[in-house]
Subunit: 190 residues, 2 copies
């Protein structure tokens, strides 16, 4: 089941044309900055890259946390949408396709984790939302005898998250390593 976390962000988007444009530019710049510099990207730098003044950043996102949450919620929303899209594929195929998209999401997630030590409301909602979206894919694979039964969805996400967070020599190596680990998941059901 998909829960529209993204709407939380959408509802904060200003109505005036210029303001809305700035809002979007800030989110984009922030996503990039978090991917590149992690949790301690400079807010002033984000504003600069978005082509707006620092004041505008603070008006839209009063705290550092608010900015993180918005970028994060946006990403989760996209992830839920993908889960719906792959619903028609074969069980194992659907799961791995979704996991591939999940790895991209992890770039943002890592920065958020770093920044938000304690659990915020949105963070909690996103977690639930994501589990609601991806969990069934995994359970379907288990039911089809394609995934081992002595692990749960959280274990799987942690594994994939970890592997894709490291620096690899090239994409080929990352895919190879991920495939090997997934072989462990596929190992005849126990």
């Amino acid at each position: 089941m998909t829960f529209p976390v993204g709407e939380i962000v959408a509802s904060r988007r200003p109505h005036r044309k210029d303001a809305a444009r700035n809002f979007d530019a800030l989110l984009d710049a922030a996503r990039e900055a978090f991917a590149a510099h992690g949790a301690d990207a400079s807010l002033e730098d984000i504003a600069r890259r978005a082509g707006v003044g620092i004041g505008t950043l603070y008006r839209n996102f009063p705290t550092r946390r608010a900015l993180f949450e918005s970028v994060y919620a946006d990403e989760v929303d996209e992830l839920c949408r993908v889960a719906d899209e792959v619903a028609g594929l074969e069980p194992w195929e659907a799961l791995t396709t979704w996991l591939r998209r999940f790895t991209e999401y992890m770039v943002t997630k890592r920065a958020v984790r770093e920044a938000l030590n304690d659990e915020s409301e949105i963070f909690q909602a996103c977690r639930e939302s994501m589990h609601g979206a991806g969990g069934p894919l995994f359970e379907r694979a288990q039911a089809a005898g394609e995934a081992r039964k002595d692990m749960d969805f959280v274990d799987l996400l942690r594994m994939v998250a970890g592997i894709t967070a490291t620096a690899f020599d090239d994409d080929a190596q990352r895919d190879r390593v991920l495939a090997i680990a997934l072989d462990g998941v596929r190992t005849t059901a126990r």
Copy 2:
């Protein structure tokens, strides 16, 4: 084969008693700080925790990089020693035992990676040294038919490194996930 990277650090250790004590305290404090705060741990904070003035830190480690390298080299040295110790165990057992120690080392490594974008001499030496130590363990497991042959030692390290770098709910979960991924490595040789 073990290459004594640690001696590079040992050779920099001052001779005077108080100076040597400070040197050690700084390395300890730095290791802790890097583990806790990553690459951007405050040098002033490290000096404070070590109970020395900031000047003393800079005398021993003129640049941020020098401090990172020393902590890192120390850790690698330890890792090489462990590789020798497990040489007597069964192939698979030896490999996994060493990998367990490797996961601890990763905490330091991650901070170093963050800090040292470009490749330094010591960094290179450490990599070689570590491969010299751990590589044979993996090859022995491959030869014994305990590890798949369509991956190399670097792939394995990346996988383990990634998995152990993520935050887990508890140690049990981390061990479980790591075991599953290693099942993928063990999968009947191809």
